[in-house]
Amino acid sequence: MGRTLPRYLHPGAWWVWALGMAAAASRTTNPLLLGLILAVTAFVVAARKPDAPWSRSFSVFLKLGLVVIAIRLVFQVALGSPVGEHVLFSLPVVPLPEWMASLRLGGDITAESIIFAACDGLRLAVLLACVGAANSLASPARLLKSMPAALYEVGVAVVVAMTFAPQLVTDLGRVRQARRLRGRTNKGLRGAGGAALPVLEGALDRAVTLASAMDSRGYGRSGQLPVRVRRLTVLLVLGGLLGVCIGLFGLLSADTSVFAGAPLLVLGLLAAFTGLWLGGRRSIRTRYRADPWELPEWLVSLCGLFAAAGVITAGIINPASVTISVVPLMWPALPVAALVGILLGALPAVLAPPLPAAAAVRRQPGSRAGAPVTRLAVDA
C-alpha cells in the first residue's frame, strides 16, 4: 500500500471508531483501562483533528467529564452507603425519619467508597470524551451529507433549521429596534408580544420563499415509491432502530451478558439498513463530492471495534479483571486482551489519511466567525 493521499476520512468511520471506544469504556470500571482509553482517544484527536470551529469540542467534553466526576463524588460523600473499613473522615449524620431508613446522610466516609465512586464517574467521563472525539474529528455537516438517501430529506430539514435559527435572532433584534424607533417600550410581556408577530410573519414568508426556490431547483423530483414499499421501509427502519437501541443497551450495561445484546443489535442493524436501502433505491438523487468509504475507513472502524472486543473478551475470561475491586482494596489488574484491543484503537492516528493542507493552515482561529459576520448582519 502506498502513501495515503491527504483527504478527510468519512465521518461515519470516525463515529464507528469512537463508538467502539465508548463501548469499551462502558464495559469497565478498571481505572487503568479507562485511563488508557482516554489517552488513546486524546492521542488520535490530537493527530487528526482539522482546524475548524466544530473541532474544538473535545476539550469542552473533557471539562464536562470532570464535572461529572465531581458530581458523582459529591453524591457519594453525601448519600453513599459505607463500604470497607478505611475511614478517611466522618461527617455528622443527619437523622432521617423511620420510613427513609434505607437512605443515609453523612456518616463515615471510607476510602473504598470514594475510589469506587471516582472510577464510576471516570467511566462516564471517558464515555463523554469518546463522543467529544467523534464530534471534533468529523464535521457534523459532512455527517449529515452522508446520510442514506432515504433519510436525505431529514438531513435537508436539519440544515435548513440550522440556518433559520440565527436568521430568526437577527429578525428579532431588528424588529425590537423598529419598535424603539416608533417610541415604544421593549420591556415586559407586551413588548415581547408585539415583536413576536412581525418576526413570525417574516419567518413564514421566508419559509414560503424557500419552498418555492427549492421547488424551482428540482427538489422532490425523485419518482414516488409505491405505498406498500414505503410502509415496509418505515417498519423496517423503525423496528431496526428499536432493535439497535435494545441491543446497545444490553451490550453497554455491564450487568447483562454480551450474548443477550449482540444478536439483537446485529438483527436491528440489518433491518434498519434493509429499510434504508429499500427507501433509497428509487431516489434519483446523486451526491456531490461524497466521502468515499475505502480501506482507511474500514481500518479505522475496525480499530474501534477491536478496542470494544478486547475489553469485552477480557470481561468474559475474567470478570474481575475489568472491574475495580474495593473490598478488599486492590491494585487493578491489567488484562492482556483489553490492553491489546485498546492499543489497537490508537492506530487511526496513523491509519487515517492526513488532513488536506487547506484544513490545517487555512484560517486562524476565530477569523471567520468574527467581525465580518456582525458587520453583514448590521449593514447588509
Binding site: A178, G183, T185, A213, S216, R217, R221, G370, A371, D379
Partner: protein, 542 residues
Amino acid sequence: MIRFEDVTVTYSEALSPALRNVNLNIREGELALLVGRTGSGKSTLLRAINGLVPHFTGGLLEGRVTVAGRDTRTNPPRELADVVGMVPQDPMSGFVTDTVEEELAYGMEALGIDPQTMRRRVEDTLDLLGLVEIRDRALLTLSGGQRQRTAIGSVLTTNPSVLVLDEPTSALDPGAAEEVLAAIQRLVFDLGLTVLMAEHRLERVVQYADHVVAIETDGTVVHGPPESVLADAPVAPPVIELGRRLGLSPLPLSVRDARRETASWRHLLDDSQSAAAVPVSASGESAMVANVDHLSVLYGNFAAVNDLTLTVKRGEIVALMGRNGAGKSTLLNSMVGLQKADRGRVQVGAQLADPFGMPGHELLKHVGLVPQEAGDMLYAQTVAAECAAADRDTQAVSGTTRALLEQFAPGISDETHPRDLSEGQRLSLVLAIVLTARPPLVLLDEPTRGLDYPGKANFTRVLAQLADEGHAIMLATHDVELVATTAHRVVIIADGELVADGTTEEVVVSSPMFAPQISKVMRPHPYLTVDEAVRAIEAVTQ
C-alpha cells in the same frame, strides 16, 4: 424559447387579473428586460415561466406558457429545473445549504447528475462567476454581490437554457451591481443563455437589452426593441428621459449614445457662460441638528465606524453613500441611539442631545429613522389603526399622522392592510409615522429600494418639501440618480471612514462610480438632472 400564448392570470380573491392576454415570444439567446411599475405583475410573469404560477402560488392561469417546448401546464416547477434557472429577489431566502460550493451542487444533486459531471460543472461555474476564492465560505458571511453571484451560479450548474432573474441588483451598491451585471452579460454573450430579468433601475441595464417587455398597470403587456417600447413607457431612465425631452431619434439607450447625439449642444454650451442651476442648499447660519464628533463604533475589534466627524443643519438633504458594509447603517443606527458610541460622541435634535439610552417616546422628538425594512415598523391590521397608534405613541393631536400620509400619498383607504400597500405607499406611511412627532432630523436607510421612477419622483418631492419646512434629512442610498435629483450634499464613507463630504456637484461629478447618467452625458458641464440639462440646452439654442 419562452412563449406566452394569450395568458391571463387571476389570483383567487383578486378583483382583476394580474396578467391580461399576454402574448410574448422571447427567442433563444436574447436578453429581455421586464419593466413596469411596482405591483404591476412583474413577479407573476417571471414565476409563470417555470410554472410556480400557478402550481405553487395557486390562482387561475388561462392560455399557455411553454419553455423550450415544454408546457408549464403539465410540467410543475421541479420538472422544469433543468430548463429554467430561477433566481429569487432575495438570494439569501433561496439558499438551501450552508456553503458556496454545496449550494452550487444542490440543484444538480436533485436532478441526479453523475458526480464527475457535477464536479466539473461546479469548477466551471466557480470560474465563470469569479467565486473561486470564496468556494468554501459560509453563505451567511458573503457580501451582497457575492450572494447574488452565488445564487446565479447555483441555478447555472443545472445547465438551464433560460435564466430568470427578479431584480438582481436592487439591493447592491453600484460596484457590486456592475459585478453582477457583467456576469449576466457574459452568460448571454458567451454562453448564449436566454435571460429574462426584471429591474427597476433601468439605467444600469437597458443598453444591454435586446428586448423590452413592459407591463402596464392593468396587466397587459407591450414588448419590442428597447427604443420603441421605452419611447412612451411610464418608466424610463434619465438618458432616455433626456432623449425624449430633446426629441432625439433614435432614442439613446446608453451614456455613449447620448453623448454622441448631444455633442453639438455641448459645444454650444462650451461657448456660453451660463452656470448650472445649482439646487439651493441651506444657508450657512441655519441651526445644527446633528453633530457627530470623532465617532467610532466597534464590533469586536472591527471598526464599523472609524473616527468620523459630520454635522447636519436644518433644511439640508444629505446623501450618505458607500459600498455595502461601509458603515452607513451603523452610522445611522448610532445617530438614533440603537448603537453605542465606543469613542467620540453623537448629538442630535434641536437641543443636541445624546440619543443613546433615551426612552423611545423622548427620542422621537429629536430624531426619526426609517429603517431599511420599513415594514418592521408596522404592526396594526389597518392603515387607520396604524396612524391612530402613531398619534398615541407620540401624544400628537389625533389625526396628525393620517394628515401627513394624505400629504405624501393621497388616496389610501383607511381599511387597507399595511402589508397590501405598494412599496411607495408603505414608505410614505412609515415616513408619516416617524414625522408625527416632528423630529428636526429625519434619517432614512435605503428608502428607494423597490420604488419605481414615478414612486421616486414623488418621494423626491416629499423630501424637498420637508427640507423646506426646516427638517434636516439624511439618507443612506446606492441610487445615484436619486442623489442627483434630491440631495444638497453628499457624504461618502468607506470602511467606516469619511472619504468625501461636499456639495452634490463637487462629490458626485468627479466620481466615476457615483456620477449620475446625466452628469456623464453632459461632462464637463456640471448638470446632474434631466431638468437642468434641458433648461441649459434650451437657453443656448434660443
